[in-house]
């Protein structure tokens, strides 16, 4: 099975992120008192150090759920504008250079598939982005 199967659901950090993301006060403490927060949630020294160092590879190898790893980075760097030029993705380029380079190379050769029902009269209308009301 895939990488996600490697996660250790019982790690305290895997529980902590759930609560921090949902609570503005905890998100603020993340910035000002990470060590105290980690202690309250019962993180091991290894968990805390990997978290403090924002070490993507170590977090992955110790069993932090992979979905939470970029969420952890966003708690440090902000959640906006998370394109592939962001600090979060740069951390992945450093942690997994071969995998990331391979994906970025493949992106140069991908091609789209346009369904027949969008190609009426050989032309496709381009609507604007929906407006919320």
């Amino acid at each position: 099975m895939g990488n996600v199967e490697r996660c250790d659901k019982t790690l305290a950090l895997n529980e902590m992120i759930f609560y921090v993301r949902r609570d503005a006060r905890l998100r603020e403490r993340w910035k000002t008192d990470l060590a105290g927060l980690a202690k309250e949630f019962g993180l091991s020294t290894a968990e805390y150090e990997a978290l403090r160092d924002q070490d993507v590879r170590r977090l992955n190898e110790m069993g932090i759920h992979q979905y939470y790893i970029p969420q952890i980075l966003r708690l440090f760097h902000g959640a906006g504008a998370n394109a592939n030029t962001s600090a979060v993705i740069d951390a992945y380029r450093r942690a997994f250079p071969a995998e990331t380079a391979q994906a970025e190379e493949a992106a140069k050769h991908g091609s789209v598939l346009v369904g027949r029902s969008l190609e009426k009269d050989g032309e496709r209308a381009t609507p604007s982005r929906p407006e919320r009301r």
């Binding site: 099975m1 895939g2 990488n3 996600v4 199967e5 996660c7 659901k9 019982t10 529980e15 759930f18 609560y19 993301r21 949902r22 503005a24 998100r27 992955n60 759920h65 992979q66 979905y67 939470y68 790893i69 970029p70 969420q71 966003r74 902000g78 959640a79 906006g80 504008a81 998370n82 394109a83 592939n84 030029t85 993705i89 992945y92 942690a95 997994f96 995998e99 990331t100 994906a103 970025e104 493949a106 992106a107 991908g110 091609s111 789209v112 598939l113 346009v114 369904g115 029902s117 969008l118 496709r124 209308a125 381009t126 609507p127 604007s128 982005r129 929906p130 407006e131 919320r132 009301r133």
Partner: protein
């Protein structure tokens, strides 16, 4: 009696709203065209309610307790959750009416059919529901019953199980005593590996193969070929969001109309939009 009037599926990647402009122009235009076509067909079906299936990205339940399925039974659904405002570039919250009577019926009727459905009065919403609602229900005028799924915390359910549960939902919805016209929406996928070592990886070969199977419409072949192992190989922890599509598949017969596909590394997910031509009633 209630009727199923539409079934469709689309990717919900946060880049589709959060960093839309980062993808090639061709991808942006195709996404807008395909979602506009989905919206046109959705509105043409005149649904009274959308029942939507999507992965819960560890937002509503902590990792020590992740139900397989959770139904949102609230009067009103407000999203996105605060943490997702900035990520999804949604500065203002959306409000979509729920359908508490139908949602509560599903929870109770599910129990009678040996299907354990958790429920929440105030479900929180990440990209899974927020992105498709942005494109398909932007005014929030079609009521929503959200069904959040576990597609990412081991043990991840199998495609066969998702199809089985989709069938139970289909049977329960058809037996709902109200006159509602019900649209089914599945969101998630296609290939991606959120937060894994292959975070930027998109498996175009898998995605096209999967969509081709949907276009052929042979359910037995889909269930035989599209295993959880195959999904995981195409992007661990993310591609299995296609379990939502498997649940929707149980509402359909025959071929799906594949509107569009993009191997969108810029959005970090294979991106596709599908409408099924025929639904089971």
């Amino acid at each position: 009696m209630a009727r199923i009037v539409a079934a469709m599926a689309m990717t919900h990647g946060p880049g589709l709203t959060g960093w839309f402009d980062a993808a090639p122009k061709e991808y942006q235009e195709l996404t807008l065209a395909a979602t506009a076509e989905m919206r046109r067909r959705l509105e043409a079906a005149r649904p009274d309610v959308i029942v939507a299936f999507s992965n819960d990205h560890l937002l509503n339940w902590p990792i020590n307790n992740t139900p397989e399925y959770t139904v949102g039974i609230g009067d009103t659904h407000v999203g996105p959750a605060d943490w997702y405002d900035e990520w999804l570039a949604m500065a203002t919250k959306y409000r979509i009416p729920g359908h508490p009577a139908l949602a509560k019926y599903l929870v109770s009727e599910g129990a009678r059919r040996r299907l354990a459905l958790a429920y929440l009065r105030q479900m929180q919403f990440d990209d899974g529901f927020s992105v498709p609602m942005h494109y398909l229900n932007p005014a929030g005028h079609i009521p929503l019953v959200p069904v959040a799924m576990n597609c990412t915390v081991p043990p991840i359910p199998t495609p066969a199980r998702a199809y089985e549960v989709g069938g139970l939902f289909r049977d329960m919805l058809r037996q709902w005593s109200g006159p509602e016209r019900i649209a089914i929406l599945a969101t998630g996928g296609l290939s991606h590996e959120p937060g894994g070592p292959r975070y930027l990886y998109v498996d175009e070969e898998f995605d096209r193969w999967f969509l081709e199977l949907l276009a052929k419409g042979d359910h037995a072949a889909i269930l035989r070929e599209v295993t959880l192992e195959r999904m995981e190989a195409a992007g661990s922890g993310g591609t299995a969001e296609l379990l939502a599509w498997m649940a929707a598949l149980a509402f359909t017969t025959g071929p799906a109309d594949v509107l569009a596909y993009m191997p969108a590394v810029a959005w970090r997910t294979g991106t596709g939009m599908v409408v099924w031509n025929d639904v089971e009633n």
